[in-house]
Point group: C2
Chain length 155, copies 2
DNA sequence: GGGCAATCATTGCAGGTGAAACAATCGCCG
DNA sequence: CGGCGATTGTTTCACCTGCAATGATTGCCC
């Protein structure tokens, strides 16, 4: 029968590596601010743009529409984000960081950058090529996405 | 306030890339055999070892114990895997590929390898360093983390 | 041998997730 | 101007997930 070495299989390796890297970082902001990964993504994105709709985040960040919506709701409940209907278009919801949200990003941004440097440092000479490879994978023509049930994600 | 470029953040890039690469491959075996990612991992691992316990897979593959257990149950229901109690140790469950399961792997293994080659091909000159970097991230001493609830997964 | 902690697989539970249905709103075309 | 398809955000639904509790079994130490 076909022998197959899962440990050496690229999609699997990539999934495990991503999970570890993400989890190690997520543990930091989860403990300190009680936010999850989707919430982190929303807040981080909001730190760039002034006021953004759910749709905007859904398109620019790799997240389902409902995922963004729920993350925004949780962030509002905790006081990190303010939601209001866009006065120009009643269908849009305008998301903005509150003062509390900005303070959180002021703490998290340096931590995030330091963690990124730490990871790149571990990669040593491969770091540059690694980043280049990631860019390649990300800018590639996107597969028309289909998703299946529950939480699982990778490989 | 702290500006933060999520698009250029390594853990985020890694998570998105992993998701895309995995999803593109998962779509193939999902359509053809109706199995999910955890199920694929179990079957792929079983193609190497003859008879393995749930615990064994849990340790060698990056999956929760209950996730392995449920994947094995689903695979058994669909006839790809046989479960029986280990005669030497009544606590262990011995998982084996059925003939149907082996046939599936005979189809999937070449597809998996072809897909892997395709991805590496896209990376071009960065491919080798990319694989090296992944190995580094995977073999690294795992940071001892505190763990906390919530569903989230990556970056 | 007999009790008892440890190990293993499963399951209950709380909660997150994607897809699809839904309600509200907008833009367009006649 | 008025209807109607399209867009947007939320919610429903079915299901998956991780963790902790559970039940069963083993190995160890006295």
């Amino acid at each position: 029968m076909a022998q197959f070495d899962l440990d050496g299989f690229l999609p699997y390796q990539l999934a495990v590596a991503a999970r570890r890297v993400s989890e190690a970082f997520a543990a930091r902001y989860r403990n300190e601010f009680g936010i999850s990964i989707p919430e982190w993504r929303v807040v981080a994105h909001l730190s760039q743009e002034r006021a953004v709709s759910v749709r905007e985040i859904h398109r620019r960040v790799d997240m389902d529409k409902s995922k963004v919506s729920r993350a925004a709701t949780r962030l509002e409940e905790r006081g990190y984000v303010a939601k209001r209907t866009d006065p120009r278009d009643g269908r849009l919801v305008e998301l903005t960081l509150t003062e509390k949200g900005r303070e959180m990003m002021n703490v998290l941004a340096p931590i995030a950058l330091a963690y990124q440097s730490e990871v790149l440092g571990r990669l040593g000479a491969d770091a540059t090529a690694f980043q280049g490879a990631l860019e390649t994978l990300l800018t590639e023509n996107h597969t028309p996405h289909a998703e299946v049930g529950g939480g699982g994600r990778d490989d």
